[in-house]
């Protein structure tokens, strides 16, 4: 009777299970710790993938705690694809579900920001429009236009100061995080994703753009959400981040 893949896999992921019978060394002895090489390869390689994918979470928790959490996560949520660059999409929710981490409520959203940065890094390339193309449009045409956002753009909204926490753990002289909610835009000029702290109303504006709402209406929605919302600086940020890849005149405008 042979060893099935199911038996092999179960023993691989549960170190307390016995090594399947039928696995041996050259002398026919049971495989014993030889099987542990495979157990170790699986756990270590996936733990490393999580450390690399969530460096700020690893820093916040400390390497030993991160190892322990990764061990729990990889057994409960093994990758569903061999493309590991996207592994860990359920890690934020997993962190939020752990009672022992309930006092660190921001971890999930910080992990979402790290995930967004990683997704942005691997997102499709797209030619951005330059500021001159936008400036060349008559104001009424621009107001009625729909802007297309680059595939690398991501938006993460949080009741926690995730931008401050991210900076504090990645930049040498970043200030202490403030006690405030923060929404973060991820742009990728060329190849390096950059998190940008959004002003109040900014996330509403971007969500509207993404839904295909014309620029003036998105601006109005943002002002309703936050009176002080200013369109020009955010548009400048989007342009410098290569985040706008298309300007489409509103179809209802006719040929004008």
């Amino acid at each position: 009777m042979g060893v099935t893949e199911t038996e092999f896999t179960q023993a691989l992921l549960a170190p307390d299970l016995p090594v399947p019978e039928g696995l041996c060394d050259a002398a026919g002895h049971p495989a014993g710790r030889r099987f542990a090489v495979y157990r170790n390869n699986v756990a270590v390689s996936l733990t490393r993938a999580l450390h690399e994918g969530f460096p700020v979470i690893a820093r916040l928790l400390g390497p030993d705690n991160m190892d322990g959490l990764a061990g729990l996560f990889l057994r409960a949520h093994p990758p569903r694809s061999p493309v590991l660059m996207l592994y860990g999409a359920t890690f934020p929710a997993f962190l939020e579900g752990l009672e022992q981490l309930a006092h660190l409520g921001y971890l999930g959203d910080v992990a979402r920001l790290e995930l967004a940065l990683r997704q942005s890094y691997h997102a499709a390339d797209a030619e951005p429009v330059d500021a001159a193309a936008l400036a060349a449009l008559p104001p009424d045409r621009l107001a009625a236009s729909r802007l297309t956002l680059a595939p690398a753009v991501r938006l993460v909204r949080s009741p926690w100061p995730i931008h401050d926490i991210w900076r504090f753990n990645t930049e040498a002289d970043a200030p202490q995080p403030r006690a405030t909610a923060q929404d973060v835009l991820v742009v990728r000029p060329e190849y390096d994703p950059r998190p940008v702290l959004l002003p109040a109303g900014g996330a509403v504006f971007l969500a509207a753009l993404r839904d295909g709402v014309p620029l003036a209406e998105a601006d109005a929605a943002a002002r309703r959400a936050a009176e002080a919302f200013a369109l020009a600086p955010l548009l400048a940020e989007l342009l410098s981040g290569g985040a706008i890849t298309g300007i489409a005149p509103a179809s209802s405008e006719g040929e004008g």
Partner: protein
């Protein structure tokens, strides 16, 4: 039963020279002074994003070097049918890159849709032979090209196995028309771990089917009985007995595309470049003269 949907294309092949596994930290060195390195190998799964720097770098490198695409996640040795999504990602990558070679492992890594991220062993039986041959047929059909299959590093054996590994691999090449990737470090690691002669393994190996050779570093541990247990770590220089075994291989095969793999604790470029020089020197020693004796 290769009913190729596409016509096999004429592709550049890998040169019988030294190559290295590509790591992004070596991009600048490779594009300015590659030394003895004549070709590069990439892990397919690291280039399956939609865009960004990895693909841009690869596109650039492919202008200067023949590229070998080496898959580490197809689970060719697995019980289940090959993942159609992953096959189509590989097809897309090969169509885009037109690599000089595609290779995968005699191993499995996915079970019940969980990807375990290791090259796991399979028993060598008539049943697994048929299954692996069917999987190789499928890969070659989808990619429209010959693939190379690599011998694994083994830490244990299956009591049920009825084939020796070299004969198993030889039979796979006969049934499917695939080529072989001979990892000399894996031979040394498996031979040490399972107590066979690495030279005898090489003598039994169908060297005429070998289209690429791998060399990498290993770590040494011990099993429950104090017997040596070598771990294929790809995190160290190639060990001296592996270089010696390479000479034995090259004496039989002649020069072949020869890759240095270094995937963990990746060293600075000069260290890897020195390994590539040593590989190049081994090939120079081995290369049969291209000038016929009567000329």
């Amino acid at each position: 039963m290769m009913t190729s949907a596409r016509h096999p294309q004429i592709l550049p092949s890998l040169p019988a020279a030294a190559g290295v596994g590509y790591k992004p930290q070596h991009f600048a060195a490779l594009t300015t002074d590659p030394g003895a390195v004549r070709w590069l190998e990439i892990h397919a799964e690291n280039y399956m994003g939609a865009g960004g720097r990895p693909l841009a770098q690869l596109r650039h490198l492919a202008d200067s070097f023949p590229i070998s695409v080496h898959g580490v996640g197809l689970s060719i040795g697995g019980e289940a049918a090959l993942d159609p999504d992953h096959l189509s990602r590989l097809g897309h990558l090969c169509d885009w890159l037109q690599p000089a070679s595609f290779s995968e492992h005699l191993a499995w890594s996915t079970h019940d849709s969980a990807f375990l991220n290791d090259l796991l062993p399979l028993p060598y039986t008539d049943a697994t032979l048929t299954r692996v041959a069917d999987h190789i047929d499928r890969v070659q059909e989808v990619l429209g090209r010959q693939m190379l299959l690599e011998n694994p590093s083994s830490y244990l054996a299956f009591a049920e196995s009825s084939w020796e590994e070299p004969a198993f691999l030889a039979e796979l090449t006969r049934r499917t028309g695939c080529g072989l990737l001979l990892d000399v470090n894996n031979v040394f690691v498996s031979a040490t771990n399972l107590g066979f002669s690495p030279q005898a393994y090489i003598e039994a190996f169908p060297l005429d089917q070998v289209a690429e050779i791998h060399l990498g570093g290993h770590d040494a541990q011990a099993d429950d009985h104090g017997a040596p247990l070598l771990i294929d770590s790809h995190g160290a220089p190639v060990a001296d007995p592996v270089w010696a075994l390479l000479e034995h291989v090259l004496a039989g095969s002649g020069a072949r595309p020869l890759l240095i793999e270094w995937d963990t604790d990746v060293p600075d470029w000069p260290v890897l470049a020195a390994e590539a020089r040593r590989a190049d020197a081994a090939l120079q020693e081995a290369a049969p003269s291209r000038v016929p004796a009567w000329a």
